[in-house]
């Protein structure tokens, strides 16, 4: 699933209710992190909802992550994010315009831009991890 396919799917969905419903479904399909994986180390700074991220660079030179949240909407956003970044090289990840991609999906700013929901912190952490292993 790449960004073009996603954008197409979101365009087919009519109003915000359908988009939110699809987003929540995506989140439900995302495998939950095990209790042990949700710890202080994997927790991403956020205020209103909790967000965890595991994963990193694998032996094939590509990065793979897994994320989780106690918020259904944020978990849906994480599912989208995983679809965007998983299997890419650190360089490819750094070249992505993640904010622009989410804007293209027409997801309302209140859930994507709200820094308090931890989602943006997750994007920042993924970028930092990619930058750290690129060298």
């Amino acid at each position: 699933m790449d960004i073009d396919e996603l954008a197409e799917t979101f365009e087919l969905l009519g109003d915000w209710e359908e988009r939110y419903s699809y987003l929540i479904d995506l989140g439900r399909k995302l495998p939950a992190l095990a209790e042990a994986e949700r710890n202080e180390e994997t927790k991403v700074r956020g205020c209103m909802s909790q967000v965890w991220l595991v994963g990193g660079l694998e032996s094939d030179g590509r990065m793979r992550f897994n994320g989780d949240s106690d918020s259904s909407l944020v978990k849906g956003l994480i599912a989208l994010l995983m679809a965007l970044v998983n299997g890419k090289t650190p360089g490819e990840i750094l070249a992505l315009d993640i904010a622009g991609s989410f804007q293209r999906l027409g997801l309302e700013s209140n859930i994507t831009v709200n820094r308090r929901n931890g989602f943006y912190s997750m994007v920042e952490r993924i970028r930092a991890l990619a930058a750290a292993v690129r060298r």
Partner: protein, 412 residues
């Protein structure tokens, strides 16, 4: 402007007084139900502030020119207006940036010098962080401690539990008048009576009370009472500490600067009398004038009428919310104010808030700066709808319809 006491509540006319309410949000009618966070401002307040800047702005208490005189007259007139509204003497009205700063002022200027190791400061388990943390800061410095009285399941104060915590170690009592999270109206008169019998000074945090019930500072007998203008239809960044004259007179300054001194020399300075002793620097003239205009507005409307309307809407909303499957109200104390805090089973408060937002409903989600209270109820966050004078049954209908959508989306 006058709204007759005998007529039915003029909701539409009141709404027309608040320009911000006329807009559409996310393509929907705006149902503003986040009034415990901040209330909207009537045109009369916005215009009073504009008029001040357009016609009278100058620094107060300093120059002899015409504008300075006009500004000073309006600014000190606002103090008189505020004093009259709360039945305090004008010297008892200290201008601050809000309730938080007022509490900090008392913590640092009044309590800190008195506090000794082993002393106790008694609060309740339903305090806002701003009525906990300032006390913790001064307590930590002096080896004192902050104790919290228990809260009962319905959100009311466990008054017997509170009394049990009173002892000869209790140096100070700080209590919230109306809980911002639960709406509980605390028995402040009884609390003050018990405290006075033991000679313990009391501060009442009135931030959440003053827009919803009449406060008579002289009759109440609290040593200190704090409020924020922005929760009372006034501007942000302004508020008051109401302090008993004899208390304020005995207190040293907290902030130093211009306007709070009698004389300054390098051998030592002397302080102005209260309230000026606590008002260092150029004050928020427009803030004071804006609050005075807000009080005029509220008085013309009648606080009793506003309270009655909020009560009506609360009574309408409570059973409607209870009908929503999996909804649990947090805070159901008898006689509570217009605050509806709840959790939806299986739904994160942030998701509920986001979905309500898409339906034009503005509520607050989170811990509401009352983390100990969240722990008390075993939740990490609630969704909170809070009422003001311009809310009606239609706002509740919009909230309830949006909540049904949230249930459908988040639990299907």
């Amino acid at each position: 402007m006058s709204y007759g006491l005998d007529s039915s509540y003029p909701l539409e006319r009141i709404r027309a007084d608040f320009p911000i309410l006329a807009q559409m949000v996310r393509g929907k009618r705006l149902a503003y139900l986040d009034n415990a966070a901040t209330t909207q401002k009537p045109r009369a307040v916005i215009e009073a502030i504009s008029r001040y800047y357009e016609t009278s702005n100058a620094n107060v208490h300093r120059a002899v020119h015409e504008l300075a005189e006009r500004a000073t007259t309006q600014y000190e007139g606002a103090r008189d207006r505020i004093a009259r509204f709360f039945n305090a003497q004008r010297e008892e009205v200290v201008f601050t940036r809000g309730s938080t700063e007022a509490i900090n002022l008392v913590a640092y200027s009044f309590l800190r010098p008195l506090l000794k190791a082993g002393d106790e400061i008694l609060v309740t388990g339903m305090e806002h962080h701003s009525n906990i943390v300032p006390w913790q800061l001064v307590a930590a410095e002096r080896g004192a401690s902050v104790l919290a009285a228990p809260v009962l399941d319905d959100g009311s104060l466990d008054f017997e539990g509170w009394k049990k915590l009173l002892s000869e170690r209790t140096r100070f009592i700080a209590v919230v008048h109306v809980s911002n999270t639960l709406g509980t109206v605390n028995p402040v008169a009884e609390i003050i009576r018990e405290a006075q019998a033991r000679g313990i000074p009391v501060l009442v945090d009135g931030a959440q009370a003053v827009a919803h019930l009449p406060v008579d500072f002289a009759a109440l007998g609290a040593d200190f009472y704090t409020l924020s203008a922005h929760k009372l239809y006034g501007p942000t960044g302004f508020g008051c500490l109401l302090g008993r004259r004899e208390r304020l007179e005995a207190m040293p300054p907290w902030h130093g600067g211009g306007d709070m001194i009698k004389t300054v020399s390098f051998a030592g300075s002397t302080w102005a009398e209260p309230p000026y002793r606590f008002e260092a620097g150029t004050p928020d003239m427009a803030g004071a004038i804006g609050l005075a205009a807000a009080l005029d507005y509220v008085e013309a409307l009648g606080l009793e009428q506003i309270a009655a309307q909020e009560h009506r809407v609360l009574e309408y909303a409570t059973p409607r919310l209870r009908e929503i499957p999996g909804l649990r109200l947090i805070g159901t104390a008898t006689g509570k104010g217009g605050i509806l805090s709840f959790v939806l089973e299986g739904a994160h408060a942030q998701d509920v808030g986001s979905i309500l937002d898409m339906e034009g409903v503005a509520v607050r989600t989170g811990h509401h700066c009352t983390m100990p209270l969240m722990a008390r109820y075993g939740v990490s966050a609630t969704t909170r709808a809070s009422l003001a004078c311009y809310n009606g049954e239609d706002d509740i209908d919009q909230l309830v319809a949006a909540l049904h959508k949230a249930v459908r989306l988040l639990r299907s």
